[in-house]
């Protein structure tokens, strides 16, 4: 039983770590702000669920588990909302989502908000 829990939490945490890494690479490599946001926010949510559940399995039934659950709930609420806020601010400033655009360095995306 103990071993099963350990293996399960190990798998969860490693997969979570993988998601964290993928998100980081995506946020660095993808071509424009909306794709980067897409990569970062989705993997953020998934990685939080996986890593925190993995730790919860390790913590057993204690106050720490309750705190971890609270952290998870607040992350699940605030993460997507923050992404929405950023996307909205970007859209307000006149950056258009453009699927055809591929180069991050071309001056098509304004480097400043078009104030």
């Amino acid at each position: 039983m103990e071993l099963t829990l350990d293996i399960l939490s190990w798998i969860l945490m490693t997969t979570g770590g993988l998601f964290v890494l993928i998100g980081g690479i995506g946020a660095l490599r993808l071509p424009n702000i909306y794709t980067r946001m897409h990569a970062a926010s989705l993997t953020d949510t998934m990685a939080s669920i996986l890593v925190l559940t993995g730790i919860m399995l390790q913590a057993g039934f204690s106050l720490a588990t309750i705190k971890l659950m609270a952290i998870l709930v607040f992350l699940l609420l605030t993460g997507p909302t923050a992404s929405y806020a950023i996307a909205n601010a970007a859209l307000l400033s006149g950056m258009r989502p453009d699927a055809a655009e591929t180069s991050p360095d071309k001056a098509k995306t304004p480097t400043e908000p078009s104030a």
């Binding site: 970062a40 952290i71 607040f74 950023i86």
Partner: protein
């Protein structure tokens, strides 16, 4: 296994920092700061268990709760700026 996750998170923090410094738009930096915030929450949770000090989870909880106030402030900042620019016709 805590180590593996911590290393993944630290590497991602480094990648996000590169994105924050490179830009190019200001929103990339906000995004990077936001990614950084979530990663800090995860890192603090993992390290609290690595140290065997679960009462330190309060810190991660603090970040989970109030990190997003900063992002909302950014949204409000751009909103009021675009409104002000619409009134004055832009100052630049």
């Amino acid at each position: 296994m805590y180590y593996a996750v911590s290393i993944a998170i630290l590497v991602t923090m480094g990648l996000a920092l590169v994105r924050a410094i490179l830009g190019p738009s200001v929103y990339d930096r906000v995004l990077a700061a936001n990614v950084f915030g979530t990663k800090t929450v995860l890192l603090l949770s993992v390290i609290a268990f690595l140290y065997g000090r679960p009462d330190f989870l309060d810190l991660a909880l603090t970040y989970a709760l109030i990190n997003f106030v900063g992002v909302l402030a950014v949204l409000e900042f751009f909103q009021s700026r675009s409104r002000a620019d619409a009134q004055t016709g832009g100052d630049q």
